[in-house]
């Protein structure tokens, strides 16, 4: 039981947290722009690499570099939207999806050119020493930072969506674009705000992911499947659902290798990434609208 908590449940929570930050952005953006943003993982990578530069230039912990990552990823997201997505606002969804695929390739190449192709780690500020609590439970400081950081950001995002004028306008536009326009809501401004929120969450997810493992130019792209699995599981276009979906996917990936029967892992950790895919496919067959009713068109 203790092993289960320490080595499967808590890491699952960490993974779920990282997915949650990414999936919320995917879900919010889908609600507003009605397309699957395939470059979202690479926005995560970009944030992670900005922090890497901060760490090596200013010798600060990557967590203190998060504001710089947030700024970098949000500005980049707004720029990408202006250049690559805005011209296609009235086009068919598939045009935007392909465009985002192109953006994703460009971003990855940009990262490779700027920061190189080899594996990198944050050299300072990531403390992997374990804290012991409640007797035998252990969690690394780094993991604690990720979990607390994620839940704080989820809370902040919730306050933004529930209490601020811009946040409410975002939900309104996600409900009905035409009516938002008729009501006088400045829809382009809402779109920009959505990119800032989505880009910021992605940046933090990238830094967390980098601190938990290492950095490589494909790091974000590799998260795309679980991110979308989480968003779909939660009912795409529903950011709160995406959080729940992300936790389910993160937990399932980690817990799938728990030795439930005997001493062998139930599923070899090598198949971890297959778990998200499996859950997504089952979900699409059994309940395509997601756990919480997704958008219908």
């Amino acid at each position: 039981m203790i092993d289960f908590i320490n080595f499967y449940f808590l890491p699952g929570l960490v993974l779920g947290s990282i997915y949650a930050l990414g999936a919320m952005g995917v879900s919010l953006l889908f609600g507003i722009l009605r397309f699957a943003h395939f470059a979202h993982g690479d926005l995560m990578s970009f944030g992670a690499y900005i922090a890497l530069s901060m760490v090596s230039i200013f010798h600060v912990s990557p967590f203190f570099a998060i504001p710089a990552s947030i700024l970098g990823s949000s500005l980049l997201a707004i720029l990408i939207d202006k250049v690559c997505y805005k011209p296609f606002r009235k086009s068919q969804t598939v045009v935007l999806v392909i465009s985002s695929l192109g953006v994703s390739l460009m971003l990855r190449s940009f990262i490779q050119l700027t920061w190189g192709v080899s594996l990198e780690v944050y050299e300072i500020g990531v403390i992997k020493d374990a804290i012991t609590f409640g007797g035998n439970f252990r969690i690394s400081e780094n993991h604690l930072v990720i979990i607390i950081g994620t839940f704080s950001l989820i809370y902040l995002t919730h306050i933004f969506l529930a209490k601020t004028k811009l946040g409410k306008a975002m939900r309104a536009m996600s409900d009905d674009q035409d009516l938002a326009l008729i009501t006088g809501i400045n829809t382009e401004r809402v779109i920009q705000a959505t990119w800032i929120v989505g880009g910021s969450l992605a940046a933090v997810a990238g830094v967390f992911l980098g601190s938990d493992t290492q950095l490589n130019p494909r790091m974000g792209w590799d998260q795309l499947l679980p991110l979308f699995a989480a968003a779909i599981l939660g009912g795409i276009g529903r950011p709160y659902g995406a959080i729940a979906g992300a936790m389910v996917i993160g937990m399932a990936e980690e817990i799938s290798s728990f030795p439930f029967f005997g001493t062998e892992p139930l599923l070899s950790p090598a198949y971890k990434t297959g778990v998200a895919f499996f859950i997504m496919v089952i979900m699409l067959i059994v309940r395509p609208t997601g756990l919480f009713k997704g958008r219908s068109f």
């Binding site: 004028k165 939900r171 009516l179 326009l181 008729i182 006088g184 809501i185």
Partner: protein, 240 residues
Amino acid sequence: MKKKIHKLVVENIVSGYGDMDILKGVSINISQEEIVVIIGPNGAGKSTLMKSIFGLIPIKEGNIYFDEEEITNLDTQSIVKKGISYVPQVKNIFPNLTVQENLEMGAYLRKDNYLETMNDVFKLYPDLVEKRNQIAGQLSGGQQQMVAIGRALMIQPEFILLDEPTAGLSPKMYNDTFESIQKIKTLGVGVIMVEQNAKRALQISDRGCVLVSGENKLTASGQSLLMNENITNLFLGGNE
């Protein structure tokens, strides 16, 4: 000092979807504190007229004036800023927002304090008071219609366009809605209303306008339209 009475004038507009012209030269005009009712068979272009006035589909010929200022093909946001609001026939609330949030969105363009206007809306529709924190999509059809009209009133419009506000309502809701529309008029708002149930609408109207195949067949006072046998036979017979 007397408040200036604004006028909205639509002159011979031609508009439609793509190459297809639906409106083939339609004119109407309205002042504040008037109710103008647009009647006509299904597919006549009544909703299209509303969308054209509101800048949602391009006007190919003709002009629209707000007082002396031309607002033809102005973008929707600017039209809202001028003080015109629009309640579409369907999909006219934000279903996942609460009643109060729907009203707040209606005031999106206002920089001043809109709480007084919200109180006015709740006075107009007392049923909404206790539902203010409920998700609008879960309300009854009649209550959703109140939210929709309430939302459009939040900008304190000079003119409000209502597209079939009573469609599908229960008889009680139907009456309540008509009463509220008369109250809206007395607040100084000009109401342009599309109605299927033309008889009742014409009774409360200052003017009626019969639209057939994208053309004004007749514009006259509500009373004289009600007396007109042709109109009665054509459009009002089925509404007994």
